[in-house]
């Protein structure tokens, strides 16, 4: 029998019992809808975490000094200075997977403008820190240049939170002089808002200035000092972060002349590691939700099997008739199998629509981020078709093995 005829016969049979077909389908509809909606919620939260972390620069690598041992006592990480400007230069030259390297000097202090003051952090960096590593555009004004770094220019860029607190009347800070501690700095630009980091830290509560300005003028270290607090770097792309972090370790171990048995006197942290940690949590959530939804799909499948068994019993005489007018066992098998698959696939299609709709509704009403992935649609659809075949096969086989004589006389 041709596929077209099979579909037609199955469709006719289902039409004869529309309500029952629909109720059977409902199990599949809810199952598939649940899978898609649940996975969408899981994936949505995963993506929002990822994008929050990416906002900090997903290619970003942070190198900090690590505790080392001095006369048998482990020293606190912040108390040691192992990273140098030579390290920065070495990384810039030798690491092929790094697109940018910048030293960083931090200082906490009070920023003052007129009658207003605000406790904040000043970060001294190279211009490349903003352009490449953080990809942080300016809202207004201009950024400082490498020349400003060389000349220890007394210029700075203000984050939005600092602007709000120092310039509460809404006047433009550009061209104004603020003081950080005792050092007057001219505001040459303002940073665009970046919001909270994934850790709930206000990323806009910062002043950014040339590295040397912070190091020499604010931290007041001697011109000869070579140590840097942190090094920020950026891998050429997200995929290269692991390779880049290995390169950094190799280069720094060489420049620090560490023996193979020595511990690293620095620590390399990639954003990718953080992203992975957070992602794995939401991945687990996604899997859990998918499992629960998958169970409901299984229940839907059992519903199909149940109804198909009822249907076979109920239509025993029809089966007998079909056999007596020339249907082979395989024709009957295919007919009932097609019915089961038709129920599950139609249910699947409606379920996909329902799933996408409910994901949208969740976003709309609860403002939860959701992400309907193609893979979840394809997967649940496949599972559906397989469910139809699997749970439809046994009733169909039962039908195909009926004895036409008994089937015809079945009451």
């Amino acid at each position: 029998m041709s596929l077209f005829n099979l579909l037609r016969i199955a469709l006719k049979a289902l039409q004869r019992n529309k309500l029952r077909a629909f109720l059977t389908m409902l199990g599949i509809i809810i199952g598939v809808g649940a899978v898609i909606a649940m996975v969408a919620i899981g994936q949505g939260s995963k993506q929002s975490i990822q994008s929050a972390l990416s906002g900090m620069g997903s290619n970003m690598i942070i190198i900090r000094p690590n505790s080392n041992i001095s006369a048998g006592a482990r020293l606190d990480a912040t108390s040691v200075q192992t990273l140098t400007l030579d390290d920065v230069k070495a990384l810039q030259k030798q690491a092929p997977d790094l697109s940018a390297v910048s030293p960083m000097a931090n200082a906490k202090g009070q920023a003052i403008y007129g009658n207003n003051n605000w406790p904040t952090t000043i970060q001294g960096v190279d211009p490349i820190y903003l352009t490449v590593i953080r990809q942080w555009p300016l809202q207004d004004g201009v950024a400082f240049t490498d020349r400003d770094v060389q000349t220890q220019s007394k210029v700075c860029l203000l984050g939005q939170t600092v602007i709000t607190n120092l310039f509460p009347n809404g006047e433009s800070p550009i061209g104004k002089y603020i003081r950080f501690g005792n050092v007057p700095l001219m505001v040459i630009g303002t940073l665009s808002a970046k919001g909270e980091s994934a850790f709930g830290q206000d990323q806009d509560d910062v002043i950014i200035a040339p590295f040397t300005t912070v190091q020499r003028r604010i931290l007041a270290q001697a011109n000869s000092t070579i140590f840097v607090q942190n090094i920020y770097a950026s891998a050429v792309n997200e995929a290269a972060t692991t390779a880049a972090s290995d390169e950094i370790s190799d280069i720094l171990r060489t420049t620090h002349r560490l023996k193979p048995t020595d511990e690293d006197d620095f620590a390399v942290r990639t954003m990718q590691e953080l992203i992975n940690t957070f992602s794995s949590t939401s991945q687990l959530l996604t899997i859990l939700l998918a499992v629960i939804a998958g169970i409901s799909l299984l229940v839907g499948g059992i519903g199909i099997m149940n109804i198909m068994y009822v249907s076979v019993t109920e239509r025993t005489r029809e089966i007998g008739l079909r056999m007596s007018i020339g249907a082979r066992g395989v024709d009957i098998l295919l007919q009932f199998l097609t019915e089961a698959i038709l129920i599950s696939i139609t249910g699947g299609i409606i379920g996909v629509v329902l799933g996408i709709t409910s994901a949208r509704l969740v976003t709309f009403f609860l403002s939860w981020p959701t992400l309907v992935t193609e893979s979840s649609i394809v997967l649940s659809f496949l599972v559906c078709a397989i469910t139809g075949v699997f749970f439809g096969y046994y009733p169909a086989q039962k039908a195909s093995r009926l004895d036409p004589i008994e089937a015809l006389r079945y009451e």
């Binding site: 004869r16 079909r322 056999m323 007018i325 020339g326 249907a327 082979r328 066992g329 036409p404 015809l408």
Partner: protein, 249 residues
Amino acid sequence: MSDQKILELRDIKREFRMGSEIVRALKGVSFDVRSGEFLTIMGSSGSGKTTLLNTLGCLDKPTEGTYLLDGVDVRKLGRNELAKLRNSKIGFVFQAYNLLPRTSALENVELPLLYNPDMSARERKERAVKALQAVNLGDRLDHTPSQLSGGQQQRVAIARALVNEPVMILADEATGNLDSRSSYSIMALFQELNEQGRTIVFVTHEPDIAAFSSRTIMLKDGRVIKDSVNENKKSAREVLASLPKSEDY
């Protein structure tokens, strides 16, 4: 044409095992049916009538003996080949009509053709319409069984039996569920089809019905006890015409 043997039964035996007992339903039945005959097979219940019907209809195979249907030895065929044979050579008409519910007359008649893989949808429809016209239901193509009277439902079933142009129409108590007027009307239809050259084998227990056929075989206890040609065949149409008009349906 009328000399051609459609059915040849030689010493057909059929035994069933019921627990430890062996029930012998047919104990050696032999007869031939020629093309164009209208044969009734009669017998009371337990005579082996149903078993013989199942055998003739290729739904069952004899334990012993030879059964040739249109020259094909049925005992040598497998399940699927039997199905194919039923599809191409036999048209069944059942006592309970066995129409698919909530399905139009046309689609019911098309059903056997669906199991014939080399037929186009158009040809299928044409033949089904022609078969329904042959049973005078050309104006009821889209009616479902529940919208038709018993007699009309049986006509649809007959059209379904005709549609594959079988070598034999096999009717099982085809008038058993009908009132006498509808019965005569159906018998008139069978006679008409027979006059057009179709071979009909009609299984019944009503002697009344057998009077319309050209030959009667009597079965008793699994054996043929009488095989006679019906000399004064009655015309169902005349009987129908003689019925009082008040019974009009």
